[in-house]
Every structure is written in structure tokens, then in C-alpha cells.
Symmetry: C2
Subunit: 342 residues, 2 copies
């Protein structure tokens, strides 16, 4: 296929044109023996024990943005979700929905980006599917990925694992992804330099789990709904209250400015390469060290703590100690702020 | 939510409305403890050994058709793909893309249908994702499923496993799904009674693998591209020639009539509940018995054989002995016959 080629309905037919698309483009991009067998399902070896399994569909608009594209996002997002149980992600599936007329050259760029993210995170893309819908039936390209990872023995990390006295760590500045995408989409004046933080966090998490073991209680990447949704989910699932300190939560000046201009609460803006870790007090130094040692965690901070149940800190609530010295409840996003952010 | 409710962009926000949609609708439909934890990834136990991993996205139009709907299809399709390695499917992930304005009542029907198919096939829907795109950004609803199954020891079934002398079995009549969907879509006159064959084939396959073991060499469900694509993939992957007998391949009279009217080759029309099994000659009786013993395989037949390499039967080719007594090459579908058939 040449650069000018476009996706046709026949590329989703199950016939020779689909076969050629798969062999010429997909197999070449995601080179590995398992995928190359072209069976309906991949056959994989896993060590005995527990596995982590997750899926996400990506509908981000635009497909290309500063700091990433839908392909990088589709691999990193699922790698990260699988990692949030403490698992080491190993295998990824990928399902494409392509709109008739989609430029093959854009598809190649996206696949290259997926392959690069898979290589960095150490996962293999082992099985896939392609559907083509008629012009107008979808907006360009949607990607679903599902991922499988292996959970180390003795590790039990989940959203309900927060205990009073635990410490809340955040791996870096918030809001970068949401502002990068929205500025690209709306062509805002501040768009020059905010990049998406889209990144695979699995190596950071493995290092932390390796050094802190069962002292890591809960992990989440604050994507849609931002830091506020992730913390509220923790508080609700664990039956605890959480407080965080506004002054300490890293926010880039440009992101802060954009949020003010657009009327967004930065705590509710999506991230794609940030980690919230809730750890036992004794493990804070080791956990923070492991996170800061990652290229994606140099600016990690202790942003808060899980509260002892007491009057004024009811379970299921998240509190923010504001820069002005007041204290307010942090709510989950109610309406929709940024559609198609991931 | 009431029957008149429609999906809003806020249902994909990551905030409270998404949480409510998940808790009120998804968790209730797919009731199980793993999904109920609401973590970003599910934690699962698998026995040691090999697993089968597969994914498909479903974009069928219309969403509801005789014999099934997109939900049943999304579960059965992935259950079947996972089973084509001889695996016992165990876990399913599900990713929804919903168009703003989609009726919540239709979503409920689809989820009920998914839950029923999951129950019949014995798989648990353990993790999921929901994205909402603006009106016009997608056509109603797309569903991705990925599935994990466990491969029994000593079983190695794949598309490259066909050997000369093997026998080709087909579990029943072909073309039903494609004709059911296209007749629903186009409102054709013959539409009254052809139903999709959409069904989970895993119990049928488990029974066959249990009784025939390593004598089962290759399995495929002839979906998009129909019987012709599946057989051509076998021939190409295995480096063999295959011949099938037109007279023996079961085709319903209404399906045959519809194909003639529409100019379709029934060998290229999609199925969603049929199995092609390539087995060693000694295992034919046991395999056919196991297939016929399933409610989805009562009309199974021996439709052909894998040929000894010889002049006139080059590797990679599929031949049809026609009803007229001639012999022709069966090609894979070249263009697109039935877009959005699955």
C-alpha cells in the first residue's frame, strides 16, 4: 500500500484484502511469533498463580496530540490498568474499528507508536481484530486493548485496600493529558507547550512493589475524572476518609492557567501517566524512592494521608486542605468536562 | 434510570454519572464478585499451563436480529475464538463505545443477552470499560470483548495443524447468520424465518477434545469470509490442499434462495455458531459423535479431506467437488460482501 491509500470496507471483509492488511501492516508493526500464527486466538504460557486482566477502549479526539497519540495511549492505558494490581503486564490484545476512508499512513503511524510503547513496557501484542465501518459510522479510528499481567506472590493491591494511617503518594504533576488534548482540539492559545503525560508506569510500579511488597495497599492511575475520582473511589471502596494538601499537589503553571481560563478543576482533569499509591507509613521512603527513580516519577510527592475514622472525617469522603488554609470536600466530577479525552 | 432514558456524554466522564451507570446497569447484569470490586483490573486465578487469549470488536448492524443481538454475538464470538485452540473459556472483558442518545433500555436488553450467553457458556464477565462519544461519532453501540481460556495438557490445536489424510467436519448448515442479518437490514422478502446461528460452541468443543485429544488438529468458526476463508486459511497455514464436497455441505433452502437472489456465494457468507474441525482419520467417529451430541451440532457432516500433496492438489489451495460433478478452486472473498455482519 502507498501513502495515499485509504481503508476500504473490504479491509474488514474476512477475505484477501483483510488478510493483506493484517500481513502487510499489523504483523510487520507488532512483530512476534505468537501473533504471526494468525490464529483466532493466541496461545500463551503463564506461570501459575493470579493474573490481572483489564480492558479499555480509546476514542480520544484528536488522534494525534502533543506527547502522544491514540496508539501510545491504547498500549500505555491498558499496561497501566493491569499494573494497578501490582501485576507485571505481559500480553496485550488489540481491536480496531476503522472508518472507511481512514488514511493508511495514519494507521501506520499509530501502529508504530503502539509497537514502541509495547516495547518500552515489555508487553507483546499477541492477538487482534479489525472491523471497518462505512463512512460516517465511526469517527476515524477507535482502539480497544485488553491486557494480561502476572501478580507476584504475596501481593494484594486493590482499591479497597486503604487503611487509616496510610500515606498517599502522587508520582508527578496533574492535568497534563487533559489540557494537552483539549488545547489541541480547540486550538487554544496556550497550546504551545503542554504535553500529554501518556506513559507506561509498569516498571515504576514493579520497582515499588519489589521494594515495598505487601506495604503497597492501593494503586490507581487518575485518568478520566482525574485525581478527585480516583481518591473518591479509594475512599468509598475502602470505607475511609482521605485528605490531601493542595499546596503539595504538583500542577504545571500552564496547566493551572488553562484550567482557570476554561473553568476546570484541575483535580478532575485526566492524566495518562500518573500514579497514586497508598502505602503503609513504614514503606513511604522506599516507595517514594522507587517512584522518583523512574523517569516518569521524578517529581513524586507525599500529597496526603488516610484518616483515622473520627468526627469530621466520615468514611467515603475526600478532603482538600487548600492553599488558602481552608478545608473542603473534593467531589467526583458530576457532569462531563472533556468528552473523548481518552 | 427509566425506560425513556438515553445515554449522555456524562455517562463516560469518569465521574458520578458513569459510576451510577456501572453500578445500576452493568454490575447488576453481570453479577459476580470480581467485577463488583470495581477496580481498574480484575484479579483472577488460573491453573498453571497454557492459556488462550482472543479479542473481537462487534459492529453488527442492526443491533437486534433474528436469533440474536450484538450482545449475544459479542460473548459467543469471543467464547468461540478462545475455544478454537481447544481451550475452556473462563473469563471475558467487555468494552463499550456508546453514542450519545443511545436508549438505555436497548442497552439493558443487550446486557441481559450478554449475561445469558455468558451463563450458558460458563464464562464470567470480570472487567469492563465504557466510552461515550458525541451524537454522530459512532453508530449506536460497538462492543469489544476479549477472552481468556485454559488449554488442557497435551492439546495443540491451531490453523497450521492440518495434515494430509485428515478429515474435515462441519457442525451444521452455513450462511444462516449472514443472511439473517442482511435480511433484517435490507428488509428483504425472504426475511421471515432465517435466524442467525449465533451460539457458544465451547461445550461442543470441550466434549470433542475430551474424547479425541491430540487427534483434533485444527478448529475454526467460519465467521467473516465464511467457510471459504476459513478453509483457505487452514490450507495456507498448514501448507496443504483441502477438498470439500458441495453436495454434503448443509445449506438451508431459504439461505440458498437468498444467496441466489443477492448474488452471494454461500461459502463466503458469515456464520456465528458453526465449527470446522480437522481431525485424524481414526478420530472421525468420536469427533462427529461429540459434535452431533451438542444442540448446535445435530446436523454435522464429514464435508471433505486434507489431500496428499500431489500434482493437481497444490498446497495452499481449496477445491470444491461441485454438485454438477465438476471441481473448482474455492477462493477467499476478494471485495466486501456484507459490511458490518459481526
Amino acid at each position: 500500500m502507498t501513502q495515499d491509500d485509504r481503508i476500504l470496507l473490504a479491509h474488514g471483509s474476512g477475505g484477501t484484502m483483510m488478510r493483506r492488511l493484517i500481513e502487510d501492516i499489523f504483523i510487520k508493526a507488532f512483530d512476534n511469533d505468537i501473533l504471526g500464527r494468525l490464529d483466532d486466538a493466541a496461545t500463551l504460557m503463564l506461570p501459575p498463580g493470579r493474573i490481572s486482566f483489564s480492558t479499555d477502549t480509546y476514542v480520544v479526539k484528536p488522534l494525534f496530540f502533543k506527547g502522544g497519540d491514540i496508539g501510545k495511549l491504547a498500549v500505555c492505558g491498558t499496561v497501566n490498568d493491569v499494573s494497578m494490581t501490582g501485576a507485571t503486564p505481559a500480553f496485550i490484545s488489540v481491536g480496531f474499528v476503522l472508518e472507511e476512508g481512514f488514511p493508511v499512513d495514519d494507521l501506520r503511524r499509530i501502529l508504530t507508536s503502539m509497537a514502541r510503547a509495547a516495547e518500552e513496557s515489555g508487553v507483546a501484542i499477541v492477538t487482534g481484530d479489525t472491523k471497518v465501518v462505512e463512512k460516517g459510522g465511526a469517527d476515524g479510528l477507535f482502539i480497544n486493548t485488553a491486557g494480561i499481567g502476572v501478580i507476584p506472590d504475596g501481593i494484594d493491591i486493590h482499591g479497597a485496600g486503604c487503611r487509616s494511617g496510610d500515606v498517599v503518594l502522587l508520582s508527578g504533576s496533574i492535568g497534563d493529558h487533559g489540557i494537552a488534548v483539549i488545547s489541541e482540539r480547540e486550538g487554544l492559545a496556550f497550546s504551545t507547550s503542554v504535553e500529554s503525560d501518556c506513559a507506561p508506569l509498569n516498571h515504576m510500579i514493579s520497582a515499588m512493589v519489589h521494594s515495598c511488597g505487601a506495604d503497597v495497599h492501593a494503586l490507581r492511575d487518575p485518568t478520566r475524572g482525574g485525581l478527585s475520582s480516583a481518591l473518591n473511589e479509594f475512599a468509598e471502596s475502602s470505607g475511609v476518609a482521605i485528605e490531601v494538601d493542595e499546596d503539595i499537589i504538583p500542577v504545571k503553571a500552564q496547566v493551572r492557567g488553562a484550567c482557570e481560563m476554561l473553568g476546570y478543576d484541575v483535580l478532575q482533569v485526566a492524566n495518562e501517566g500518573k500514579l497514586i499509591a497508598v502505602v503503609a507509613p513504614d514503606a513511604v521512603d522506599a516507595a517514594l524512592g522507587a517512584i522518583r527513580n523512574s523517569p516518569y516519577g521524578a517529581e513524586a510527592e507525599i500529597i496526603g494521608r488516610v484518616l483515622e475514622p473520627a468526627k469530621g472525617s466520615p468514611a467515603g469522603k475526600v478532603f482538600l486542605n487548600t492553599s488558602l488554609g481552608s478545608r473542603r470536600v473534593v467531589d467526583m466530577l458530576v457532569g462531563e468536562q472533556l468528552p473523548r479525552i481518552c
